[in-house]
Amino acid sequence: MFESFFENKKSWLSSEGPDSDIVISTRIRLARNIEGYPFPNRATLAQKNQVFLKVGEAYPKIEHLDSAFFLPMESIDDLDRQFLLERHLISQEHMHYPRGKGLILSRSEVVSIMINEEDHLRMQVIVSGFDLVKAWRIINKIDDEISTYLLFSFSPEIGYLTSCPTNVGTGLRASCMLHLPALVMTKRVDKILELLAKLSFTTRGLFGEGTQALGNFFQISNQVSLGMSEEEIMDSLAGVVKQVKEQELNARENLLKRYLPTLEDSVWRAWGILKCCRLISTKEALSHLSMLRLGVDLGIIKEVGKDIINRFFIMIQPAHLQKIEGKVLKEEERDYIRAELIREKLS
């Protein structure tokens, strides 16, 4: 399943969109629950199935979703679930316990709706580059349309009611994924993350909740979802992301001006390893790809395009490798295939 996703040229990996040299992607999700049913953590399997069917009746009438995949999670095998996680289309929680859960996924991978995750609906839109306006336009329209068919749990005082009170109100979480190699190299990233936490923004790694900051990727998102309008939340996020982006640009300039030989050395060494390696782990590959990407951004390396490197960040992940190879691979086998794939694409 999902083989066609390899051909998607316009997904969030495309390195298009505003400021995509630093801001890789923008994601917005809305948490919604359907009136009259307990939240998934309390619902029986039968109730979850009813929610699944109710959503199933509504989605085909909605623009962007008319030709979407609509699947019970149990019908998606382990490898494909991992594959969707690696492409940021489902969450860890949704992957691990598939019973009673469902998924709506647009063929373009822009829209995904997890059914019976923590809330009845977790609707997300993910686009390339720094583009909160575009992501909001799409998800707001879907939310409006779907809410004419489904009655959402809502209180005029505290807004959309969610399973966890940290999401109540707008139910909105907006996040931008930034590539910040120069801030990491110049050791300034700690200070910035500290500051973001003080301003009520959350920072996470490449794969969201509870993951490490691999490959110098950082996801910045809002913590507060109540007391501000959707626009205000997005404006404040846009403000801090812009600041961090400027800081990264400054750090890059500083590296170019004052540490050019060191910088060039790091970039070309990464290139050398990636072009010659025979065994490479995901973690090691990500760190070299990060340097390579920096080298391309700064014009040090011209032999390879940004979109190819962006795709690499995901292609080298375990489930992607196994789907490309069409079989289950052990860790050592993956390290070998990963090295081979990278060498091939870079030559």
């Binding site: 629950n33 009136e35 049913y37 307990p38 939240f39 953590n41 309390r42 923590e118 707001n140 939310d143 409006d144 809410s147 004419t148 489904l150 009655l151 959402f152 749990s153 809502f154 209180s155 005029p156 005082e157 505290i158 807004g159 959309y160 009611l161 399973s163 966890c164 009170p165 940290t166 109540v168 109100g169 707008t170 909105l172 990491v184 990233v189 700690d190 993350l193 500290e194 500051l195 973001l196 936490a197 003080k198 920072t203 996470r204 790694g205 909740e209 509870g210 490490q212 900051a213 691999l214 507060v224 979802s225 109540l226 007391g227 501000m228 309008s229 959707e230 205000e232 973690k283």
Partner: protein
Amino acid sequence: MLCDICHKKIATVHLTEIVEGKVMELHICQDCAKNKAEELKQQLNISDFLGGLTLEGEDNKSMSIKCSFCGTTFYDFKKKGRLGCAKCYTHFKSQLLPLIKKIHGSNEHKGKLPKKVEEKVIVDRNLKILKERLERAVKLEAYEDAAKLRDEIRELEKKVRKED
């Protein structure tokens, strides 16, 4: 490289953590990694976090309050960090509102309204106005007006029922 925790075995697991906004690198052996994984799991437990946020003056009485729709008690919520249904917000209102204020710094929704609710709010308001006018018309013995109003109300109520 030796393990950062036990300093005995070779470090084969390399962790990058963000702790309170600081990036920490940790190189550890398999055994310590297992322990660390458990620890991380506990750190990420949202209910602890929410539990820490709930309020002083909570007594056994408030812990045993139960949602009549889904059966979740306030104690369940404190333990799991998750509410059982939308009605829990009503049943635990006096406990939840201060907590929500602590999390978000506000208790007031300023975002969008769901389309259905929006319509419902408007229809409810119209129905109320019509019913008041009907009452007034009956009092004034303006039966022609009253009949008209009664028809309008019926029409509107029929529409609402159909949508439900």
